[in-house]
């Protein structure tokens, strides 16, 4: 039985005072009752816009410009207000990406359910509590959460509550918009499993909107691939995996690899055993022949020093009186030799970002010492810290918040050049253009004049990397540098980081939860769990033959399209 029939649907955004943009063009597909379908695309492909439209949540400035959405025979594309609200019961619901933040912090979870029951009056008063308990148990939460406030629950629990809330109107169609993206790796997997199970048991029709083809192929039976507002491919997951028809799908698939494999290859990057190399085809790799002279000059006269951590611990005072102090880092020791790349992996809360703060001098260790060469980082005062930043630079996780939206690329890069390099005027400008050339943003003159909002995520991250390189540092700390980027852009940025390390001899501390990228750019690895090192060694060795249970768990959380076929 056809539940949803979408015919030639187009959606335009008509922002006030700007050109209208067509976000979805001529989408046509049908969903049968009980199907689990994935909708994949990178940012800007229109997948979320489509998801919102299907559940009648499209709002100004978005407008359905043509086509129809028949839900069980009724056209919902042009329904309004009250009719739409009635349709929601036994109709369609949506779980949002930030669904866990969609809960009202001053109301208990039970109240959230009560609100929905009261608005639709489909559950008799006396049965409401029982029904709510039933629903939270479906998403594997204890009944006691109903009496708690959202702030008392973890992110994963809140997302489960959001799913239970979406289920409370017995929907026949559920749209999940990136339901696990905001969650921690290990939690992601658990929530995804609950969704899959729930769909199987309740037999509702589900659409999983996601940027991650790996996750979608693993969990759904049929996949729609969207690119620039158009559905470019529609087929069973297994067929898409084995025999993708569209070039775009092929490209997306080429960016997945198993970190456990002997040879790991992404476009532009290849790792065999523990040998890393940037392949020539990678457009991102800064050609070795293009080594700018300005940078090489700055290189002379500086000795390379190792970063040494000895028995480092960091304990934060208890968050509330009467609680135990928080141990963020516990007895961690390691050394990054000049030119080495070390990966620091672990789930959130494992203390990896705290270690980054300790090395950059933002926080001071409560035990042990952090040293860069002869300098004791923990005891530096203001002026010392400023000198330290000449040598230790950071690449941030979120390229969207790491650049001041009001400054041009040239200004952003000019500052460290002026402050640390001591260059002025034309010389400084030449150095800025060199930097842009190094990170592959050409033509350099054009990019120098741009403002951050005129750049894509990948380009922004390149600017961030260029800024980190500007003062010719010894150590670069990259905190999840690719986790906010589209899958297809990741390989390029990773190849850039890898190439820079080879070419400039910069040491790299690569912090990530993504083992695939760790495998690609580092040669040593440190696995952290709750502030303690649980496993260490050569990256290839550790990932191919993991010994600790936690490492195995992390490896299992890496989405692999291939696994679905097994």
């Amino acid at each position: 039985m056809t539940l949803l029939d979408v015919q030639d649907l187009s959606i335009v955004y008509e922002p006030h005072g700007a050109e209208p943009v067509t976000a979805v063009r001529g989408a046509t597909f049908r969903l049968e009752q009980g199907e689990f379908v994935g909708l994949v695309g990178e940012s800007g492909s229109g997948k979320s816009t489509l998801g919102f439209a299907l559940t009648g949540l499209a709002r100004a400035p978005a407008r359905i410009s043509s086509g129809r959405i028949a839900f069980d025979g009724t056209d919902i594309a042009h329904l309004d207000g009250e009719d739409l609200r009635r349709q929601r019961r036994g109709g369609f619901a949506m779980v949002l990406q930030s669904g866990m933040n969609a809960l009202n912090p001053v109301r208990t979870i039970g109240n959230h359910f009560a609100d929905i029951f009261a608005a639709h009056e489909h559950v008799p008063r006396g049965r409401r509590r029982d029904r709510a308990v039933e629903l939270v148990e479906k998403v594997k939460l204890p009944a006691s959460v109903l009496d708690r406030y959202p702030g008392e629950l973890s992110g994963g629990m809140r997302q489960r509550v959001a799913i239970a809330l979406a289920m409370s109107l017995d929907p026949r169609l559920l749209v999940f918009d990136e339901p696990t993206t905001a969650l921690d790796v290990l939690v992601q997997r658990a929530v995804m499993e609950t969704i899959i199970e729930l769909q199987r048991e309740e037999n509702f029709t589900a659409i999983l909107v996601s940027h991650d083809l790996g996750v979608v192929l693993e969990s759904t039976a049929r996949v729609l691939v969207m690119h620039e507002g158009v559905i470019v491919e529609d087929g069973p997951a297994a067929r898409i995996l084995q025999d993708p028809q569209d070039d775009y799908t092929k490209m997306l698939l080429s960016h997945y690899a198993d970190p456990r494999a002997e040879v790991v290859e992404l476009p532009g990057l290849r790792v065999a055993g523990s040998q890393i190399s940037t392949t020539g085809e990678g457009p991102a790799g800064p050609g070795t022949d293009a080594a700018p002279s300005g940078g090489a000059k700055a290189r002379t006269g500086r000795t390379r020093e190792a970063v040494v951590l000895e028995g480092v611990g960091k304990v934060y005072p208890p968050p509330r009186r009467g609680e135990d102090p928080v141990v963020a880092v516990d007895d961690v020791s390691f050394t990054i030799e000049p030119g080495d790349a070390l990966a620091l992996v672990g789930a959130s809360g494992s203390g990896k970002s705290t270690i980054a703060k300790l090395i950059t001098g933002v926080e001071r260790p409560t035990a042990g010492t952090v040293r860069l060469g002869e300098t004791d980082v923990g005891s530096l005062r203001r002026a010392g810290l400023r000198r330290l930043r000449r040598d230790v630079q950071m690449v941030f996780q979120d390229p969207y918040s790491a650049l001041n939206p009001l400054h041009s690329v040239e200004y952003t890069l000019m500052r460290p050049v002026v402050n640390f390099g001591g260059l002025r005027g034309l010389e400084a400008r030449r150095r800025v253009l060199d930097l842009l050339d190094i990170v592959g943003l050409t033509p350099v003159e054009q990019f120098a004049a741009k403002l951050p909002h005129q750049l894509s995520g990948g380009q922004r991250q390149r600017v961030v990397i260029a800024r980190a390189l500007a003062c010719d540092p010894q150590v670069i700390i990259a905190d999840e540098p690719v986790s906010m980027l589209d899958v297809s852009l990741r390989a390029g940025v990773l190849a850039l980081i890898e190439g820079l390390r080879e070419q400039w001899g910069v040491s790299l501390l690569f912090i990530t939860h993504d083992l695939l990228s760790a495998r690609l750019v580092t040669d040593k690895i440190l696995v952290l769990n709750r502030g303690r090192v649980v496993e260490r060694g050569e990256t290839a060795q550790v990932l191919r033959f993991p010994e600790d249970a936690y490492t195995v768990e992390l490896l299992d959380a890496v989405p692999q399209p291939g696994r679905a076929a097994d």
């Binding site: 030639d8 006030h16 005072g17 700007a18 050109e19 943009v21 001529g26 989408a27 049908r30 990178e42 709002r59 100004a60 400035p61 690119h227 620039e228 507002g229 158009v230 559905i231 529609d234 569209d246 070039d247 775009y248 092929k250 490209m251 992404l266 476009p267 532009g268 990678g282 457009p283 991102a284 950059t360 933002v362 400023r386 930043r389 630079q393 941030f396 996780q397 918040s401 790491a402 650049l403 001041n404 009001l406 952003t412 500052r415 460290p416 592959g440 943003l441 004049a449 005129q454 750049l455 894509s456 995520g457 990948g458 380009q459 390149r462 961030v464 800024r467 297809s488 852009l489 390029g492």
Partner: protein, 331 residues
């Protein structure tokens, strides 16, 4: 279905080559509609930025009304000698007259032309509003932002002073100060208004500074070796334009009201012609009892309209840094 699908695919643009580099990001071009990418060149000059800001404010109907009202008052203040039929202190006319062709709003009990006083009075209000508003905003920006950015002892000291000014009731403090500095004229009034009017703005700017301080690009600026001063004024300040503009208009409104209040109470320079002193003299001569309600009504209305115009402009200021509010009409 397959047929439909085929057409959908047929319309698809050329599939992109695998672009692992960020350089060629296909979707960016569509989203920006090309416009964003073509616009390359020097960053916009301050003048064009100002022009664009004015355009944004103008596009909000409420703010447009406010701008027109304000323009009327400013023009009246600037061209007062041309517009006013008589000199404001010329008391050679018949006293306490009603409206007549020669004196549309009548004359005061001292024999001055009310319309001329009204027009000249706008000079004081507009001047005090702008200068005191600017002064109060300047102090609020300097103190609020350094307060928000620094931690430790310095922040505690500023905290103490701001809270001190926040808890002291404004009007009594103003009256005490004005009584002390009697005879200082306009400069004294501006000083008093600034001293009592900056604290609230500082508080608001401080919290916004604190929230911006934790953003990555501020940490990045520290890593670029920027000094604290530069971080506050080159990185954080430009991101708070709308807040500061809003706080300026708020402070200017408060200053206008405060000046009128002080003059009305007789604490200003009673010889100076301002709307507040007009009210003061009208009250002194029991204008209501003698049936000359215009003497009270006209300056009162002007004060209210000028304050309203600034408040209306503030509606448009919200849109300066929040594009979402500009699009809000579609809902």
């Amino acid at each position: 279905m397959t047929e439909k699908e085929a057409t959908a695919q047929g319309e698809a643009p050329e599939p992109t080559q695998p672009p692992p580099s960020g350089r060629k990001n296909a979707y960016n071009t569509t989203v920006d509609g090309g416009g964003g990418l073509v616009r390359v060149g020097a960053p916009p000059s301050p003048l064009t930025v100002l022009g664009r800001a004015a355009g944004t404010i103008w596009s909000v109907p409420k703010a447009r009304v406010g701008l027109i009202l304000l323009a009327v008052f400013v023009l009246a203040a600037v061209f007062a000698p041309l517009l006013a039929p008589y000199a404001p202190t010329d008391n050679s006319f018949a006293r306490a007259e009603g409206g007549s062709p020669a004196h549309p709003l009548g004359t005061t009990t001292a024999g001055e032309d009310v319309l001329s006083q009204l027009i000249y009075g706008s000079r004081v209000s507009v001047l005090v509003g702008m200068v005191a508003g600017f002064g109060a905003t300047l102090i609020a920006v300097l103190l609020g932002m350094s307060w928000g950015y620094t931690r430790g002892f310095a922040a505690d000291v500023i905290n103490f002073f701001v809270n001190l000014f926040l808890v002291i009731p404004g009007l009594p403090l103003m009256i005490v100060l004005a009584a002390y500095l009697q005879g200082g004229g306009l400069a004294m009034i501006i000083f008093v208004v600034v001293i009592t009017g900056w604290a609230w703005g500082a508080r608001v700017l401080r919290s916004q500074t604190q929230s911006l301080r934790s953003r990555d690009f501020i940490t990045a600026a520290q890593f670029s070796g920027e000094s604290s001063f530069r971080i506050v004024f080159r990185e954080i300040l430009p991101n708070m334009t709308s807040l500061i503009t809003g706080s300026f208009f708020g402070a200017a409104t408060a200053a206008i009201l405060a000046e009128s209040g002080l003059s009305f109470l007789g604490l200003g320079d009673t010889a100076m012609v301002s709307w507040g002193s007009m009210l003061f003299w009208a009250q002194n001569s029991n204008a209501i009892l003698t049936g000359q309600w215009v003497l009270l009504f006209a300056p009162g209305l002007c004060i209210a309209l000028l304050a309203t115009s600034l408040t209306l402009i503030n509606f448009g200021v919200d849109g300066l840094s929040n594009p979402r509010l500009r699009e809000g009409k579609g809902r």
